[in-house]
Symmetry: C2
Subunit: 83 residues, 2 copies
């Protein structure tokens, strides 16, 4: 099973990386982009011995405690079967 | 319209960030994770004047030319309607 975890800066938090990319796109004449936000993205390959409920709990714990800074970031994740 | 762009290291490329996270998880006694890969994730808010085909072409160009290093990374993206 694989878990896909997405971590993004909270809407209320400034995102200087995203702003830098937005400015670069403007200078490079790319049209039609009004805002850019950058986040992180993790793919966790899980032990096949875990059932879905256990995987759900374990990934939520890992995402909350290790992958996310709860002061400025939020996360979401989903599980997918298969290698 | 919003574009969600995911950039990940190619399967054949070492991912030291992912490995560091994997090692940390092991030391912290998290069970059941066999591999971790880290990527980047971008949310682009697009001008509503763009139609879907134009948005598709523009985001593909941006992802390929600006957001991804084609030597070591690959990308995928999808569009979603709404603010």
């Amino acid at each position: 099973m694989k878990a896909y975890v997405y971590v993004t800066p909270k809407q209320t938090v400034l995102d200087p990386q995203g702003q830098a990319i937005h400015n670069a796109l403007r200078k490079m004449q790319y049209r039609g982009v009004e805002d850019v936000r950058q986040g992180k993205y993790f793919v966790l390959r899980l032990d096949n011995g875990l059932d879905r409920a256990a995987a759900q709990a374990e990934v939520e714990r890992i995402a909350r405690d290790v992958l996310t800074n709860p002061v400025i970031e939020e996360f979401r994740f989903h599980l997918e079967d298969g290698q």
